[in-house]
């Protein structure tokens, strides 16, 4: 029997292809949320008063704090890519850690925000919602929980990617010559930020 050749894996690393791959993935994410935004705008168009009423229930302050938080974390992870290219590995790691901590703070805020809604008896399919709210308000809160929930899930995924990136930086798998993992981690995090930039005014600001 023919002996299997030992295949030397050539280094196929290519920064540009990695970036394109990430962008293609981001496009699918944009269209996923884009679909939800279309659903939101149609329901809003059909139920303007109910959306107005329900929107007043949301806490502007928490929404604004979370926006500020997310924007700052976007900056820190963007700075991390600069730090890596300047050869400051420790600074790069520290900046990703900071972004991670800020992402966690976002989730803590979300926890309290949802907690208040739950304590008021508002959650998808809750008795109070079905008994007291109009069709339009139920739609609003349904979309609110689905869209902010899906966004929070993306925050969690982004944080997991950050952990792998921190590990990669620490053990030297992510370096000046191979920065794609950090870059793509950053791109993903900015995507999460980008989605929030639209979620925030649509749910918290427009009454």
């Amino acid at each position: 029997m023919e002996h299997a050749h030992h295949v030397e894996h050539p280094d196929m690393y290519d920064e540009e292809s990695s970036k394109i791959g990430m962008w293609l993935f981001i496009f699918t994410e944009l269209l996923l949320f884009g679909g939800l935004f279309i659903v939101y705008s149609i329901y809003r168009y059909l139920n303007p008063e109910a959306f107005h009423l329900a929107g007043e229930e949301l806490n502007r302050t928490i929404g604004t704090i979370n926006t500020v938080i997310l924007l700052i974390s976007s900056m820190t992870i963007a700075m991390s890519t600069t730090a890596l290219r300047k050869g400051h590995k420790k600074v790069a790691i520290a900046l990703v850690v900071v972004s991670f901590v800020i992402g966690f703070a976002f989730l803590v805020n979300k926890y309290f925000e949802w907690g208040v809604k739950f304590s008021h008896g508002i959650w998808p399919g809750s008795e109070q919602m079905l008994a007291e709210m109009s069709q339009g308000e139920i739609l609003f809160f349904g979309l609110y929980f689905v869209m902010t929930g899906l966004h929070a899930l993306h925050i969690i995924i982004g944080m997991i990617i950050m952990l792998f990136t921190i590990r990669g930086l620490a053990i030297g798998k992510v370096t000046i010559k191979r920065p794609s993992m950090l870059d793509n981690c950053g791109l993903y995090w900015h995507l999460v930020d980008l989605i929030w930039i639209f979620l925030f005014p649509l749910f918290y600001l427009i009454h």
Partner: protein
């Protein structure tokens, strides 16, 4: 291999400036939507969101320094989304 060393290192300063701009825009959009503008509230909030997302895409997501075809692709996706939303609304607006 492709020619290296031509990649652009964005100074920290740029990111700080963009963050400050984004924060100003955020607070402005909070401010402007708390005034009663009636139907213009939605438009105002969305304009601020579009400017903010443009800044994030251009600077944080590095598109300014990327090759043209990547920018074209991103632009195409947003154009596609715009077309879909316009067509959907044409449907709803002209239903009898």
């Amino acid at each position: 291999m492709s020619e290296e060393k031509h990649q652009h290192v964005v100074p920290y300063r740029v990111y700080v400036i963009i963050l400050i701009a984004l924060l100003i825009l955020t607070f402005s959009s909070v401010g402007i939507t708390s005034i009663e503008l009636g139907e213009y509230t939605v438009a105002a909030a969305l304009i601020f969101a579009v400017i903010k997302s443009f800044l994030v895409l251009t600077y944080f997501m590095h598109l300014k320094y990327d090759k043209l075809y990547i920018r074209v692709m991103v632009g195409f996706v947003f154009a596609l989304f715009l077309v879909v939303i316009i067509i959907t609304f044409l449907d709803y607006l002209f239903r009898t």
